[in-house]
Symmetry: C2
Subunit: 307 residues, 2 copies
């Protein structure tokens, strides 16, 4: 197996970086030039906890690791700028896996418009990945979780329910609907919409990772408001309908409570200012809790690694 | 065991943050306000690769995880500002270990003058830690690895050889000299000296992690120069001398080739501008390689995780 320095050389030999990158890999740290405040977020992906090698290609894992982190930068209303990627893996892992993983990282970086500017390689008994994403607010204020006001509207952009439908299929040993499965393996983040929402006056925003209702619960709690979701405004994707029919489960459950969606949900002052590409799904209330058509949701409420 | 959200609440309930932190934990990402370019670096620590629980207290592991990352920000000549800390651990790990780890993280953050502004908790079969450190150049240029010029002097601040001496002792089942062992478990980074070197006109700099000669090799390669170290200028700490005597090894080997020191080494135009607290140990040459008193070093040359 190649040594650490050779591996780093092969990974970094073809990197391209954005105009805001003053110094990329090869030094003690990278240097970025921002015009506004700096946004930073980190997330780990552990083999057999966050992904399984029998389900995910190395490329899909690399893409997902970048996507889920950049999604959090979008959720602050910032321009995603760069990622650093730490990877630890067993010494006997096929080197092709590492190369394919890094290709996936670079592919998603290109899609997201971010630069890979650093990382770390190490050995470990299971594959462990840690990505930190950095963004530039470019003079904008951050869109936090605590700015929602009673009477405002709740709107969403991106896909809901696809990832949970895909996971359900995989857990039963199947591989289709392929679009649902692909969405679970690599979420399609609505890149660029964080800034669109910020410039459109979003008062609060987050990305959907624990499930729409669970995440709206976080927003409601931080903003000290309630939120009512109108189920008739929530679209049921074809694939979700098919998985629901095949498994006898409520399609709304996938859309409202399925985790790992990485859609963006935000509150806006009124319908008129909701940006194109966002759909209104509810309203901010004074109830202090999250409801669906005025009632508490009785289904599953997202998931917790330690539950 | 407490759930993820309760654990995060207990970790983050007593956080204090610096004036440059606009938004800390509790949102999708943290927001930092810098007056200059942003420096970012990441490193993973894996149980039984980078630390052993029978050698290190949880607090020492937490302190080390912060220290080795902030050290890289210092090495760019920047002011360290903040860290995000991702931790994955087995579900059956004693919760006191996690609490003690986080106390160590906070203790080192206080020592380094950085704010803990975010993180991630997950499960994994072995303890896996990933820290990303962020710094603010505050209008200064970064001090890279590629600015050294022939004729300049090489100077160092911080401790050399202590960590390797401590590791040697631990590997033989002993616990003293205690100061050497403690240095291996938690390196004492010369916090603040990165800016001192930058303001003093350092032309190139890095932190010593692979071993002084190996790291000078990286600097020489990037700067396309050679470096000659004067062994008579390198001090042999008492503890290193004691470990050398007890193990029959060359004390210079610990100081010149021992890894994980996290001293800072930099090049300066001449002796007159070398800041107080730094000692000159060599000179930049046109030889294209690193030598000790004009000769290649025949001892061990640092270490490589994948060797």
């Amino acid at each position: 197996m190649a040594g650490e320095f050779e591996l780093i050389e092969s990974i970094t030999s073809d990197l391209t970086v954005g105009d805001d990158v003053m110094l990329s890999v090869g030094d003690d740290a990278a240097v970025l030039r921002f015009s506004g405040d700096t946004v930073v977020t980190t997330d780990m992906l552990i083999e057999n906890v966050h992904f399984k090698r029998q389900w995910s290609s190395a490329s899909a894992v690399g893409r997902k690791a970048v996507a889920v982190n950049v999604s959090d930068v979008e959720a602050m209303g910032a321009r995603p700028s760069a990622v650093v990627v730490a990877l630890a893996f067993p010494k006997d892992l096929d080197q092709a896996w590492v190369a394919e993983f890094e290709d996936g990282v670079k592919e998603e970086c290109a899609t997201a418009g971010v630069s890979l500017v650093g990382g770390d390689l190490s050995s470990a008994s299971v594959i462990s990945i840690c990505v930190t994403a950095i963004g530039d607010l470019e003079g904008r204020p951050p869109v936090t979780r605590f700015g929602a006001k009673v009477g405002e509207v709740v709107a969403v952009t991106g896909r809901l329910g696809w990832s949970a439908a895909g996971l359900t299929v995989l857990q039963r040993g199947f591989g289709s609907p392929k679009d649902m499965v692909a969405e679970h393996l690599t979420p399609s983040v609505p890149y660029g919409q964080g800034i669109v929402a910020n410039d459109g006056g979003a008062t609060a925003m987050l990305d959907v990772s624990d499930g729409l209702l669970a995440d709206l619960g976080h927003l409601a709690e931080r903003s000290r408001v309630g939120i009512d979701v109108d189920p008739s405004s929530v679209e049921i994707p074809d694939g979700v309908a098919r998985v629901s029919a095949a498994t006898g489960r409520d399609p709304l459950g996938f859309v409202l409570a399925g985790g790992e969606d990485h859609a963006l949900v935000a509150t806006f002052r009124n319908e008129a200012v909701v940006p194109k590409g966002w759909r209104v799904i509810g309203r901010v209330t004074d109830s202090g809790s999250v409801t669906v058509d005025g009632e508490p949701w009785e289904g599953s409420a997202g998931w917790d690694h330690f539950a």
